[in-house]
Amino acid sequence: MPPPNDAAPADAATDHADRRESGGGRSGDAVVRARGVDHVFDGGRGVHDMELDIPQGCIFGLVGPSGSGKTTMVRLILGLLVPQDGSLEVFGVAPDDFSKDERERIGFLPQESALDPGLSLQHNLQFMASAYGMPWRGRWMPGKRAARARDRIDELLELLDLSDERGTRLGDASTGEQRRLGIAAAMVHDPDLLVLDEPTAGIDPLLREQLWGHFDDLREKGRTLLVTTQYVTEADECDLVGLVIDGEILRVAPPDELRHEAFGGDLVEVAGQDRLPVGDLVDVEGVVGIQRRTARGGLLLLVEDAEATTERLRTALGSQDDDTVTVSTHRPSFDDVFVRLVRAHREGDLDSPQRSSLARHRKDATDA
């Protein structure tokens, strides 16, 4: 699968590549920076006190239930809404002051299919390419730029497995095909920042996995992706996750860190023996307590650090000599993580999580 930049897309896209090299190209620089941003609609819903740093070259997931404010945050970042309070910058510029240059560096996939259902998949892509300054002309018309635009469109259709359906009317295409075309349209000019609002909504798991594979590829090429999703489990696919509830970002952290915080430590599963020496296990250094019994009669232990404690547990159980005993790190589903964090937030057990987490990541970025 050829990387977007190597495929010689149209001039607009290559211009972006130049900008990536010359400014703001260092991995870890914040592409999006928000401080205390408010935007409240009539009735009180909206976004409150949004604090956000999205480093360049990462997949940032805004995860939260439907109606939690993810799309409002996206619209603020894109300049479709203006903050009522606070400061917000994308590429160092406030979104309502975006020039043509900043706009050319952003690709956007809205929640709804924003393309023309009366046009074919290919014509829709050609239209979006032209919107970004890439000429839309037939093959019989001369012009190198137009030829490059056609090549770029062919490449994207191939990448998203839509080549065979290029002539199909969008209105006749399946939901998955429509969604993939939307992603292709957002990527057509090879943007630095790709903002995808619910890209996997209504898409089957196989295709979802395939799409996340494409997102990983883009991240590898240095692109920054801001992805919103209501599939909480997809948070695992992100480098950083912003957990959104009731218009607030509760936590911004890597997925494993969120797991750790949700449960107050890591989880280790011990299984295999008919009767486990519970008392001995609790006394092992690093074990905080017993989380629960597993369905297979084992135990789920809450530990301070899974990697360090696993070895101690194996030693304590003598599992090196006994094949029937297994000690392994347990990764709870993100649904569980999400439920625990939300519950803790609503019960008031999470204090200032957002800022503390942000501060930690700012420090990480500086160290990098």
Binding site: F108, P110, A114, D116, L119, A131
Partner: protein, 489 residues
């Protein structure tokens, strides 16, 4: 510069491709209005509907027989005379039961000829104002006809009487000749006897001329002078016994000759010409006869151009907003101006194609003359489309949903039908309401197309100025309103 062209061109191509992928839509845009006009032309009758009429009156009365004669002789069109009904209430009930369309109630005979105008009542029950107006016009026409007939009959009677008058005049002239002879023969007794007889006869003649004076006046005959002269001559003849000689006999003879000529003119005149001295002959100055379908064809073209442009422009932008395309375009490096320019050009191209096809059909099928100036015709069509697209954009900035956009577009269509001169002549719409008419692109286009196609003239400057003004104001308003609405969906 290249980028400035690429982006608007993207909208042009998108709209054209999307429309060309719907051939039935294009076909219906052209064939739909054409078929409407075609079927209308086939089915519409230029004649007024025939009205079943009953007359209330005694069958034996003079008035009823006069009406019967009138209907039989005048070959009245649009009236189906079904006879008389003696009872007024029965006749009116038949009207209420929709058995007849008109009830004509004649006045009682004793009200006629009293020196006052007798009233003939005409009862109708049609809810259609056009038919109502037709009845009023028909009743007025019939009344004029009946009044004219009465006058003509009176004239005929007078003419009959003039035969006697002419004989009397001739006789009087003979007597004068006798008097003159008697004066020559120095027969005083014979002279006095003849003069006395003549005096009496001239008096009678003066009375008859007096009676016919009103009719004679219609012919321009100074009958009162003739009457006075006759009386003066009568008096002179009566006084012959006391005064001599008869110097005035020659003058009297000349006077009678004049009276004889006047009576002859009165007798020979055509009563019909006397009653209806003028007839009318309408001569059309248009290059071709303007039939109803030829009149409506340019109007339909104008109406379609407005409706297609308004609806497409309004729905296009509202759908872009509803689908989220507007958001994507707001994020993209495209200005509202580029977006509107591209979309407008696309609507102009599509509208021009529809106009070309419709024009070809109305010219070939309905025989509407080709425009005298094709350049002006194309310019007028494009300017009409431009102003209409402006309206579409303004509607798109007001409407939040497809259905609101469709409703407002239909409202525009309704306003255009009622106020553009298509339904009622523009001259019958008073100011300031007529400004509503001139706010419609259809009004300008209809007027301009009629000038170019039906009158063979150039488009007047008022039309150019009005349409240009509309287009500029509306597109400027759209440029301001569309971004606002996109950010406040």
């Amino acid at each position: 510069m290249r980028d400035l062209l690429i982006r608007p061109a993207a909208f042009v191509r998108r709209e054209l491709v999307a429309t060309l992928r719907q051939p039935w839509l294009l076909l219906s845009l052209v064939l739909g209005p054409f078929l409407v006009l075609f079927v209308f032309g086939l089915g519409y009758s230029r004649d007024f509907p025939t009205l079943t009429t009953v007359v209330v009156g005694d069958e034996d009365s003079e008035l009823v027989s006069r009406v019967n004669d009138f209907v039989a002789e005048a070959e009245v069109t649009g009236i189906d005379y079904v006879g008389t009904e003696p009872d007024r209430e029965v006749a009116l009930q038949r009207l209420r039961d929709d058995e007849v369309d008109l009830v004509v109630v004649l006045p009682p005979e004793d009200e006629v000829g009293t020196g006052e105008r007798a009233i003939i009542e005409v009862h109708k029950r049609s809810t259609d104002p056009v038919t109502g107006a037709q009845v009023e016009v028909a009743a007025e026409t019939a009344m004029h006809e009946i009044n004219d007939q009465v006058v003509a009959e009176v004239l005929g009677t007078v003419q009959d009487q003039t035969a006697t008058l002419a004989e009397d005049v001739a006789s009087a002239r003979d007597v004068i000749a006798q008097v003159q002879d008697a004066v020559g023969a120095d027969d005083v007794d014979g002279l006095l006897a003849t003069a006395e007889t003549l005096s009496v006869r001239l008096d009678t003649l003066a009375d008859q001329v007096g009676q016919a004076s009103r009719i004679a006046a219609l012919l321009g005959i100074p009958s009162s002078e003739v009457e006075e002269s006759l009386r003066s001559a009568s008096e002179q003849l009566a006084s012959l016994s006391r005064t001599t000689p008869l110097e005035d006999l020659d003058e009297l003879d000349a006077m009678l000759t004049e009276a004889d000529d006047a009576v002859a003119a009165l007798r020979d005149a055509d009563p019909e010409v006397l009653v209806r001295p003028f007839d009318v002959e309408v001569v059309s100055d248009t290059p071709v006869e303007v039939t109803l379908d030829r009149f409506y064809a340019p109007g339909l073209l104008a109406l379609m151009l407005q409706h297609v442009a308004v609806t497409f422009a309004a729905l296009g932008l509202v759908r872009e907003r509803r689908r989220g395309t507007a958001d994507v375009l707001r994020v993209a490096p495209i200005t509202t101006g580029q977006r509107l320019v591209g979309t407008t050009i696309a609507h102009l191209v599509l509208g021009a194609a529809v106009a070309a096809a419709l024009t070809a059909l109305i010219v070939t099928v309905f025989g509407v003359p080709v425009p005298v100036d094709w350049l002006q015709f194309v310019g007028l069509a494009l300017l009409t489309l431009l102003a209409s697209v402006g309206y579409g954009y303004v509607i798109a900035s007001v409407a939040r949903t497809d259905s609101q956009a469709v409703q407002l577009s239909m409202l525009m269509l309704l306003i255009a039908i009622f106020f553009s001169g298509l339904f009622l002549p523009l001259a019958r719409i008073n100011f300031p309401v007529r400004w509503v008419s001139w706010a419609m692109p259809t009004t300008h286009a209809f007027t301009g197309f009629r000038e170019l196609m039906l009158l063979g003239e150039s488009v007047s400057n008022f039309i150019w100025a009005g349409l240009s003004g509309l287009a500029i104001v509306l597109l400027a308003a759209a440029r301001v309103l569309i971004p606002w609405r996109d950010s406040h969906p």
